[in-house]
Amino acid sequence: MQRDLLIRGMQDILGPEGVISEREQLRSYECDGLMNYRVIPELVVLPETAEQVQSVVKLCYDEGIPFVARGSGTGLSGGALPVESGVLIVLSRLRRILEVDIPNQRVVVEPGVINIWVSQEVAEEGYYYAPDPASQIVSSIGGNLAENSGGVHCLKYGFTTNHVMGAEIVLPDGTMVNVGGGKAADAPGYELLGAFVGSEGTLGIATKITLRIVRKPEAVRTLLAAFKDTEEAGGAVSGIIGGGIVPAAIEMMDSLCIEAVETAVHPGFPRAGAILIVELDGPAAEVEYQFQHTIKVCEENDASEVRIAEDDEERALFWKGRKAAFAAMGRIANDYYVQDSVVPRTELGAVLKRISELGAEYGMRVANVFHAGDGNLHPLVLYDNDVEGEAEKAEALAGDIVFTCLEHGGSLTGEHGIGEDKKKYMPKMFTTEDLDTMQLLRCAFDPHQICNPGKIFPTPRLCGERPGPFRMHPVQQAGLAENF
């Protein structure tokens, strides 16, 4: 299809305000939260209704044009990276909260609605939306759905997939289907909703999403404990969870990370080898009992300090320090490279030890901040892009960390997704048969593979590509290609 015809077709659907085709404007969409990969889309479209999304997808399907959906563009795996010669469907204008149904504990939203808006909308009724990725003040529900976002509180409350009850989906051929029970608990037939959530935008575009909201707990208690090193802190984690407690959150930061956070947001954390932030919530009597147990466990594991948040302000300060961790890395290093691997909780000690050994072998610093409760690591490899060869070394080290996690029975990613960034590692975790079986699902939803093609699954064409900072390919440097 001629470009002009495509533009006109899209304008017929969306009006001129809904189509972006100027090069400079398109460039601001060339990457999402991960800047290592960039592709300029052919067009960006901004539908305002589900019907417009459907018409846009139908046009793409009829013309065989690939498309990628994008929410707030905060993903960390390049899941919303545009596809060359494809259309980028930006859903940020579908941002209405369609229905709040307190009796059934449901909220129905459009995909561009920002995560935190849902909690804000129902706060007065004593409810909130439980999944709380660190990006919750900006990331969209549609994006959360695509990535099956986690968050610090998902240890107890589960992930996005546990809180999405229904969705209206525009399939890659432009048909619209409803999956999940919505307000009802179960729906007969295959669990298509469960398969859709976390499919990273490769199976279709959700245009209406039914979320479960959760009653605010009666009590919340938060403490911060300092330890000599991550091993001792890890011991405390095992002790707490082994005691039959499921904390709302249990987060660990190592000394390097504490240093960065202190520089950035000054939460007043103790200077220690490692700190834990533990949060318990639920019925008051239960929380109190468990809180005392938690304190005891921390002390038994030689915590040098146990600090209890006395009020909401102090609690907010603990979390501010934690949630700023990634962004704060800029204060102690020019560049960093983050991984998102998961290991079984009992392997944490061994894996952390190995990570520090690897860091020493490579002569590079690795900061650790992670969801200790569920073993989701975020090792941050610090480097300086201006020093020749450091970026490559950082990538290699990050890769070795990933392999270490897999060797210990873990997973490539706990919440950031595979996207563009980690697809090359997929064969390390899954066999060809596994991947082919997943492709069966893909083919059922998207037979022509026009919906976010090239993500999640390694393709021969893109094999051997490595993540890391953006570098020009020789072809690019020669001005022959923009992206490859």
Binding site: R3, I7, V19, E24, S28
Partner: protein
């Protein structure tokens, strides 16, 4: 496996739709070759798509054309020259996390990446060596209100304020605006920084509407752009009240605790002279000797926010000269927009060997009046004002200066006063310096949104620290058929210290 082959990857079979294959429209711009840069504009090289490229461009003008139809066709490559371009180091601080998006007023309105801080910084980066400065680029920078809510929201500490100011300086120097646009901007800068001219203009503006001059001009087909902006300007104009001149020196009540300078502002002086009078009374009551030089010029805030660097520097040097040598402990400002610029004098005049150090010394003394009162510790007795007031954060106070707690505290220290928070407090009201005059549509949308949130608080009055916000919110309320008493925190505090009745305050 075979079964997967029934779903070919479209990319492997070549691009399913032709002519626009990316390989054909490469043309990576080289910094030295302006022709190459020319080819990189738009989606394809002219050879590929001569007609539809331009057809589409015509249409796309409207994509983000909220309030702007100024297509000058001007472009320069690379976008920035060496004189204070947006600094690469500051741009690199942005990790593209997007946390700024929901607090950016234009992103809230349009939902477009280019109209978000992250997008604008991205474009600045591209402008450093990859893309030219042209209508598109400039439009997205122009649309920024400069409210700095993104600076507050940013976890990485990106100094967007410095970036956008540098960018605007470059735009003003390097980008050729349309004649109408230029004329209108020039007019603003010939009036607003000059209180006397401003005073003179306010009256004819009223006449302008009364006699339907705008309509006549419109019918005549001339000045197509101007009337809309003029109307916007007119809608914002408050009734001129009797001028209250501030004395050059006001002695402290009781023991003198500080000797402070007072900056009268431009808009403040003309339209809100009561606020200045109230501020001086409050400062005196709190034990300050207040020095307010009679002849003081504009601080240059409007100019610096619009990238008019030289004009700003002139204003700034003049103001420094005025206040130097007065032996002041502090220099007090009650207008948020002026305050944020005054505090930046040191940075802004860093290249001026004669003034750099003096500017820093000046800036160090500058405090917002509520900040100062809380710093000093209140001594004057407050009498009760039993009223619920919605406090509106002026962006240049809350975001640019980080002063949020002090004005609230100042109000809460008044017995009986209830301070209510406005939903979406961090989102700008659309006033933003000259923004509501040059970009009336988005500004109006933001103003109405703010007014709605203000009304929803159920408060009886609204309190804010910036004259621009007052004008803007008042205009929106009026358009919506509402009115609400409005006051500067100093007016409220003054009423309390003087023991005025709350109804008198509300009837103002």
């Amino acid at each position: 496996m075979d079964r997967n082959n029934d779903s070919p990857d479209p990319r492997q079979d070549g691009n399913p739709y032709d002519a626009t294959d990316a390989t054909e429209r490469r043309g990576e711009a080289t910094p030295t070759n302006q022709d190459a840069a020319a080819q990189s504009i738009g989606a394809g090289s002219p050879e590929d798509l001569p007609d539809d490229t331009f057809a589409s461009r015509g249409a796309v003008k409207q994509t983000v054309g909220i309030g702007r139809k100024t297509e000058s066709g001007s472009f320069v490559f690379p976008a920035f020259d060496d004189h204070h371009p947006p600094e690469k180091d500051l741009i690199d601080d942005c990790v593209h996390c997007g946390f700024c998006l929901p607090t950016c007023p234009t992103y809230v309105l349009f939902g477009e990446e280019m109209d978000s801080p992250r997008g604008r910084i991205y474009l600045m980066n591209k402008g450093l060596n990859e893309e030219p400065m042209n209508d598109q680029m400039v439009r997205h920078w122009d649309l920024c209100l400069g409210c700095m809510a993104c600076v507050t929201a940013c976890p990485s500490g990106v100094q967007y304020d410095k970036l956008i100011e540098a960018t605007r300086g470059q735009v003003e120097r390097r980008y050729e605006r349309t004649p109408q646009d230029k004329a209108f901007r020039e007019m603003i800068f010939q009036i607003f920084p000059y209180p006397n001219r401003l005073r003179l203009m306010a009256a004819p503006l009223k006449l302008y509407q009364r006699f339907g001059i705008g309509d006549a001009l419109h019918k005549a087909g001339v000045m197509k752009l101007l009337p809309k902006r003029m109307r916007a300007m007119e809608a914002l104009m408050p009734m001129l009240t009797e001028q209250q001149e501030v004395p050059e020196v006001t002695p402290a009540v009781g023991e003198r605790r500080r000797r402070v300078g007072f900056i009268k502002g431009c808009v403040q002086r003309v339209f809100f002279s009561d606020v200045n009078a109230a501020t001086v009374r409050v400062l005196a009551a709190e034990g300050c000797e207040v020095v307010a030089p009679k002849l003081q010029g504009c601080c240059g805030a409007l100019s610096v926010h619009a990238g008019r660097e030289q004009e700003f520097e002139g204003f700034a040097r003049q103001l420094i000269d005025t206040f130097e040598g007065l032996e002041l402990d502090n220099i007090i400002i009650n207008a948020a927009g002026c305050g944020s610029t005054l505090k930046e004098y040191g940075y802004l005049l860093r290249d001026d060997p004669e003034y750099a150090q003096r500017a820093s010394a000046f800036a160090e003394k500058v405090m917002d009046v509520t900040e100062f009162i809380q710093h000093l510790g209140p001594v004057a007795e407050r009498s009760p004002l039993p009223v619920a007031a919605a406090y509106h954060d002026a962006c240049h106070l809350a975001h640019a200066q980080g002063v949020r707690r002090q004005p609230r505290q100042t109000l809460k220290q008044i017995p009986g006063m209830e301070v209510r928070e406005i939903k979406e407090a961090e989102i700008c009201c659309g006033s933003a310096g000259i923004y509501n005059m040059v970009e009336p549509e988005p500004a109006t949308e933001l103003g109405d949104r703010k007014a709605k949130n203000v009304l929803n608080t159920g408060a009886r009055m609204i309190v804010t620290s910036n004259p621009g916000c007052m004008l803007q919110i008042q205009a929106s309320l009026k358009r919506m058929g509402h009115s609400m008493p409005m006051a500067h925190p100093m007016e409220v505090l003054d009423a309390s210290i003087r023991g005025a009745d709350v109804e008198t305050l509300l009837a103002k």
